[in-house]
């Protein structure tokens, strides 16, 4: 079962910086939903993701996962980074097993990892040192490592940006498929518009200085998504519009409907947050 996330009024100051990096962020993610955070470099999207993972605590506000405030990392939510960051002294299997070892879940670990490696297509590489794998294969090991502990939430910090185009597309589809099969909630950071439209149920556009959520776009296209389909192309163009690169006339403006929806949504969250604080 996927995790429900509630990001409540997060404002964050890095020490020594005058302006906040993030200001009044509030988002709710439903169980099993895939949400993309998209924005230019330095808008604080990665900072926000680190807060979801519990690797960084916000100056104000908090993150709740299934109602529990996030104060430290947990194997129930797992983060994947731009670099696979595998441990080069271990085999594929050892790398993938690590989360289970740390949790003390060594029972039937071998079979579990076998199944996972099969899922990510690395069965024949199980006993090989990870240094002999290609970039895409390494990122697949990292994916297996993240999935091994049965997380309810997967956090992805531009995990495919260092890969070649073919591998990137394959992994985008694979992660989406696995997350949907397992009902895992996904929040991912990207600056690739196609990636956002290909994977997300909802795209949050972030602006910088201070980092805020400036627009929201629902992508209601059936999976598996046809990247050449009209709906896909339209969504991409619409999203591109928020970054000033207009392809379609009028796409630059925030759609009326989405805006009112976002406002209503945030109002609800605010009252809820207030209720929680008062309690």
């Amino acid at each position: 079962m996927g995790a429900a996330i509630s990001i409540d009024y997060i404002t964050h100051h890095y020490p020594g910086q005058e302006k906040p990096t993030l200001k009044d962020i509030q988002v709710a993610v439903a169980p099993g939903e895939t949400v993309a955070l998209i924005g230019q470099s330095g808008c604080g999207k990665s900072t926000l993701l680190h807060m979801l993972a519990g690797l960084l605590l916000p100056s104000d506000g908090c993150v709740r996962i299934n109602g529990h405030q996030v104060i430290k990392p947990s194997p129930r939510w797992n983060m994947m980074f731009q670099k696979p960051s595998l441990y080069p002294w271990m085999t594929v299997r050892q790398n993938a097993s690590l989360g289970l070892i740390f949790q003390g879940r060594k029972k039937a670990m071998r079979e579990r990892i076998d199944r996972l490696l099969e899922t990510v297509g690395l069965t024949d590489k199980a006993e090989m040192n990870v240094q002999s794998l290609s970039g895409g294969q390494q990122q697949r090991v990292a994916l297996a490592r993240s999935l091994a502990t049965d997380p309810e939430l997967l956090l992805l910090d531009e995990p495919f940006s260092a890969l070649d185009a073919f591998t990137r597309v394959a992994l985008q589809d694979e992660v989406t498929r696995l997350a949907r099969e397992r009902g895992i909630s996904v929040v991912f950071v990207t600056h690739d518009i196609e990636e956002a439209v290909a994977m997300a149920d909802r795209v949050l556009v972030m602006g910088s200085n201070p980092g805020t959520i400036t627009a929201e776009l629902t992508v209601d296209i059936e999976h598996p998504r046809d990247r050449n389909g009209q709906a896909f192309v339209d969504r991409k163009a619409e999203l591109m519009g928020y970054f000033g690169a207009t392809r379609k006339p009028g796409a630059n403006a925030l759609p009326e409907e989405a805006e009112s929806e976002a406002t209503a949504d945030s109002d609800a969250t605010t009252t809820e947050a207030r209720r929680i604080r008062a309690a």
């Binding site: 797992n78 980074f81 960051s85 002294w89």
Partner: protein, 279 residues
Amino acid sequence: MNREATLNELNPALERLLPLLRLGDQIRRRVQYPALGIAGLFALWYWGGWAIANNEDTMAFASFAPGPTLAAFWDLVVSGNVWKPIESSLYRVGWGLFYAIAIGVPMGVMIGYFLTLKQVTHVPFQFLRMISPLAWMPIAVLAFATWDGAIIFLIAIAAVWPITYATAHGVQRIDPMWLKVGSNLGANPFHTLRYIVMPAIAQDVFAGIRLAVGVAWIVLVPAEYLGVTSGLGYAINDARDTLEYDKLAAFVLVIGIIGYMLDAICVRLIKRSSYHAEG
């Protein structure tokens, strides 16, 4: 026609010989340069012996030459008299290194991990490091009840610095992402040390131990000049007192051989602990 027939007859024999020839070639290629170096050292030694023997002032020391030395060396090995001093010396070096590793590795991990500790310890440690271990001799003799204790202390205090600083260097080179991924997978401090830090720094630690072995082996001999009645240092001093210069030179040879072997073991350990893919 005739010639061809002869060649054909020879072929099976040649084919059987070929692997043998190849092996011989491989061995030759591996040993030719080391053999050249060893031959060079022997030539220099031989020339030195000849020069000493032909100078009226130094004629008394003619048994330093290779001939008498190798004869004395052979006597030591055959009579078994060579083992007792080796055993005493290795015992002292072994314990000295044990304490140096037991203190140096944890200290190095801490210095590498905490910048403050590095800054605090920098001046006092560099100051202590530059004091010749032998300068501690009088204090060591006062402080320790036995000569063995004093010598082990001197070896430990000499060997602890390379181990400490090599370890600290290794810790500083750890990819911060490895630690981040580890904590993200739910590693506790013990897990981090056991599965991430120790494998990551193993090679640096052994490189430090290699340097330490060199220093310890050097400090050992002068330390054994004083007080004790066993060990290789004592054996050299004893041979000098009894004017047995061939035996003295034979012990120098023993020190060199054992030192070389200790270093070779360290090199093997460094190679084995390296996680870098070969080739």
